[in-house]
């Protein structure tokens, strides 16, 4: 967006499309400089992955580990997506960790103890999650109670409820194979053409790449039609090649193990739907407007209370999805499920670039944030690092990410 075609003068020279093409490196440097915030997360993720690949002699980047890493990311990413919207509207929700644990336990009990079928249990738990979100939202939207306090109350309550429902039994084992497949299963392969290669995954990867390239070109065309600045052609191609290489790489790595897992599919669907909502729809615009300036939003005819209810309901819904993913992954419900999930989700969202001042943040950013966060955990585990140091390093990365974000934002002013 802020790529400029002017070669001479400093970074502040005015826009001008008529000058001779700048040298490739000069314009690359400049685009990176001006969009450092947008690219930084990707670069950070890349560096972290490269680092762990090096320190683990390539183990980190093995098909098996990447598949595992993505499955670990699932339940955090899903929470981070919901949390992103919550933070965008200047609120916070601390209750979601134990809410997800509690709802996961309810699902397990409903199946194990009452023998309810999985197709009934899952929608039921998802609806309960959304209702829980509405309940958290009520004091915030209606009575103006700070969300920190309202959701802290929820944190305590759901933690208590989780212990209550598991009190008699302790850990509840889940026997239902369909349910367990959500966290452990992989897409079936219909057309095996080569041994050890998951064809459907390759197919989906190719489709994703085609879609990506198509959307980039159509976007560029639109911008040019309105005379907006676009990347110079050589950089544009570089970007396409780069992203395509990454998508192809991920596809190839995944296809080499079991292919796409159901967790990854669910995570991608959630990210896709939320990305669409936040970037393309009226609702998304309203959410950002409420975060940017609630008073102006209200006076522009946006029902701020309604937006708060919607965002918290979505958060509750995703908390419950996260609970299902986690319980399914462990094939059981435990009394500690959900512990600290909310803080992991908040950290992922902040690493991904949301701002506590409200109105700023993207779904893709939070997905990357979640990947950064789980890559750290996963990589340090592979290195067999002491858990105590792991916390310190995760904390340092969070601090660096947020400091970097704030500093580049100030400079942009």
């Amino acid at each position: 967006m802020s790529a400029v075609n002017s070669p001479n003068a400093g970074p502040l020279s005015p826009v001008s499309g008529t000058q001779a093409a700048p040298s490739f490196l000069a314009s690359l440097r400049r685009v990176l400089q001006e969009n450092i915030r947008d690219y930084a997360m990707f670069i950070a993720l890349f560096l972290i992955m490269a680092f762990f690949t090096y320190t683990t002699n390539g183990l980190f980047l093995s098909s098996r580990n990447i598949a595992n890493l993505l499955n670990q990311t699932g339940y955090i990413a899903v929470l981070a997506v919901g949390m992103t919207l919550v933070i965008i509207i200047r609120q916070i929700d601390l209750s979601v960790g134990f809410l997800s644990g509690f709802l996961g336990a309810l699902a397990a009990i409903a199946m194990a103890k009452y023998g309810l079928p999985v197709w009934l249990v899952i929608p039921m738990v998802l609806v309960l999650g959304a209702i829980a979100g509405l309940i958290t939202a009520y004091p915030i939207a209606r009575l103006g109670i700070p969300s920190f306090v309202a959701s802290l109350a929820g944190w305590l309550i759901y933690r208590g409820l989780l212990l209550v429902v598991l009190a008699g039994t302790g850990t509840v084992i889940i026997a239902d194979e369909i349910f367990n497949a959500i966290g452990n299963g992989y897409l079936p392969d219909f057309l095996p053409i080569a041994p050890g290669v998951h064809t459907i995954t390759i197919l989906l990867g190719v489709l994703a790449i085609i879609f990506y390239i198509w959307s980039e070109f159509s976007n560029r065309g639109k911008k040019q039609a309105y005379n907006f600045e676009v990347l110079p052609m050589n950089l544009f191609v570089l970007k396409l090649v780069f992203v395509t290489a990454i998508l192809a790489g991920i596809t190839w790595i995944l296809a080499g193990y079991n292919g796409l897992s159901w967790t990854v599919v669910i995570m991608l669907i959630v990210v896709g739907v939320y990305h669409f909502i936040t970037t393309q729809t009226v609702l998304g615009r309203h959410i950002y407007a409420v975060g940017g300036n609630p008073e102006a939003a209200e006076l522009s005819g946006i029902n701020v209370r309604r937006i708060i209810f919607i965002v918290f309901a979505s958060m509750g819904f995703l908390a419950s999805l996260s609970g299902i993913l986690f319980a399914s992954r462990l094939r059981s419900a435990t009394p500690t499920a959900g512990t600290l999930f909310e803080l992991d989700a908040i950290a992922a969202a902040y690493i991904g670039g949301v701002s506590a001042a409200g109105g700023v943040g993207t779904i893709i950013g939070s997905l990357i944030g979640a990947l950064v966060y789980t890559s750290l955990t996963n990589g340090m585990n592979l290195m067999q690092m002491d858990i105590a140091y792991q916390y310190v390093i995760r904390g340092a990365v969070l601090a660096i990410a947020v400091i970097f974000d704030v500093m580049t934002r100030n400079r942009a002013k």
Binding site: S13, E34, Y226, T281, L283, N293, A296, L299, I302
Partner: protein, 506 residues
């Protein structure tokens, strides 16, 4: 003439995509009142921010000479230290702190480790005396009116050893008498040797007070005029600012209002639970189709509160009374229903309540009417771009692109974005609260012309304005509001400044 106290030489300042100042040179003599005028986005505020170190040395090119020395301010602190104080258009006081705390904020009077509050209060009294402001230094700033807050800001500047005082549109939010007061004070300071630089769009006060006037246009100095040589008149100023002459800044309207009543309000009362008092009492008025109704009154007389209470009552006052829109009883519980019903309100406080500053121009313009450019909840971005471009052209919004963040626009251009947002809603009844605050003469003329066109097409406009000439120049009828009541209604033929003022203060 003696040597200038301040000189800016060949200042150039660029933002991404915009050259805000191009080689501007500017001289101020010691002890003069020097006004800076120019269209919205001409670069006035930017020039003053360069001078006061908001944009530090190295961020611009050119030289600043103060008292004969080249200065390289790296922050506001540096310029304050040198004796230059700037008062922004948006007041920078902390509302929750007391007057004396505000005056010495960042400049605390210390004993060894603690603040010497007694000395602080004493010195605050002296500073308040200098600006002839009679308030208790222990009052909280938020309890003062804007006019008094403005004076507190000046007291704050004077509490340090200020030689040059810069005021960026100090009177845009003040009523007539507060403005008078302020101008009086500036003359007084001049006698005491303080040099003032004032930016203003109110040419009358520029003419009244300036020793010299510098006109900026498109980031360049056009001319510096000397009032003592009789060079400063309204026509001359406008000609240099806009580049053409405007004879009558209130364009004539062809149409007459019809007799059809569009909006009628009966026995309207409102109680503000937060303030704990009644803010509107027995308000009755009506608006006809194709009419511009002016609402005059002092600041704080309750006109904004009236508008807010009618427009979906976002502040949640306790309201009773009746409101009819097109003869139908209306009971809006949220601004969204008012908008759906064709009633819109453009706020007086664009930064706090009008704009999403972190978003770009196009998102702000489309915000209140997204559904018009959406299919099944999905925004059509091409349509949005067209809409934004349309209003950018119609209102002559000065911005490098509609993808520019609104916070980067000049004050007047932000105001135009606000107006654009409501024009896009295209309501039947449009309530404009101080629509031309901070807007230059040329753009005012354009906005008045647009208002006329809308009214000719059958829209009705309620114009809340503290600028009496504007009320008299544009309205078909005037209601005067004082202390939450309507104290008078005058057809435009009978309205005069004196009559309105008399009713507004009774």
């Amino acid at each position: 003439m003696d040597t200038p106290i301040l000189e800016m030489r060949n200042i150039t300042k660029t933002f991404p995509g915009v050259k805000a100042l191009k080689d501007v040179s500017f001289q101020v003599q010691k002890g003069e009142i020097h006004c800076v005028v120019g269209e919205n986005g001409a670069g006035k505020s930017t020039l003053m921010k360069v001078l006061s170190g908001v944009y530090p040395f190295g961020d611009y090119s050119g030289d600043i000479l103060f008292e004969g020395q080249v200065q390289k301010f790296t922050s506001i602190r540096d310029s304050e230290h040198a004796g230059i104080a700037i008062i922004y258009q948006e007041l920078a006081l902390v509302p929750e702190l007391k007057v004396y705390e505000n005056i010495f904020l960042g400049n605390e009077i210390k004993n060894r480790f603690t603040i010497n509050w007694n000395e602080t209060i004493k010195r605050a009294r002296q500073a308040l005396d200098k600006v002839k402001l009679d308030v208790n230094p222990e009052a909280k700033v938020k309890d003062l009116g804007v006019g008094k807050q403005q004076l507190v800001e000046i007291a704050k500047a004077l509490s340090r050893d200020t030689k040059v005082l810069i005021l960026d549109e100090p009177t845009s939010a003040l009523n007539e008498s507060d403005s008078e007061n302020l101008l009086h004070l500036l003359r007084d300071l001049k006698v005491h040797g303080v040099t003032c630089i004032m930016i203003s769009h109110k040419l009358k006060e520029v003419i009244a007070i300036a020793d010299r006037v510098t006109v900026l246009r498109d980031g360049q100095t056009v001319i510096t005029l000397d009032a003592h040589k009789g060079q400063v008149t309204e026509t001359v100023l406008i000609k240099h600012m806009v580049g053409r002459e405007i004879d009558n800044i209130y364009p004539v309207r062809e149409s007459k209002p019809s007799n059809e009543i569009v909006l009628e309000v009966k026995d309207w009362n409102a109680y503000d639970p937060q303030l704990g008092r009644t803010i509107l009492r027995d308000v009755n008025f009506n608006v006809k189709k194709g009419e511009i109704v002016g609402f005059a009154g002092l600041m704080g007389s309750g006109r904004t509160e009236l508008a807010l209470s009618l427009f979906g009552n976002a502040k949640r006052y306790r309201v009773n009374g009746e409101m009819f829109v097109h003869g139908k009883k209306a009971n809006y519980t949220h601004p969204q229903y008012a908008i759906q019903d064709g009633v819109a309100y453009s706020t007086e406080d664009r930064k706090a309540a009008g704009l999403i500053l972190i978003q770009d121009v196009k998102h702000n313009i489309s915000l209140a009417n997204l559904r018009a450019i959406a299919q099944r909840g999905v925004v059509n971005e091409n349509a949005e771009i067209q809409v934004a471009e349309k209003y950018r052209t119609a209102l002559n919004i000065k911005t490098p692109s509609i993808e520019q963040k609104v916070s980067n626009l000049s004050g007047g251009n932000q105001q135009k974005v606000c107006l654009g947002k409501w024009l896009f809603v295209n309501p039947n009844v449009l309530i404009l609260d101080e629509p031309t605050r901070g807007i230059d003469v040329g753009a005012k003329f354009e906005i008045y012309s647009i208002m006329n066109k809308l009214v000719e097409q059958g829209m009705s406009i309620i114009m809340i304005s503290s600028e009496l000439p504007e009320v008299l120049g544009m309205s078909d009828r005037v209601y005067i509001v004082s202390a939450g009541r309507i104290t008078g209604e005058l057809p435009i033929q009978e309205a005069t400044q004196e009559k309105i003022m008399a009713l507004a203060t009774n």
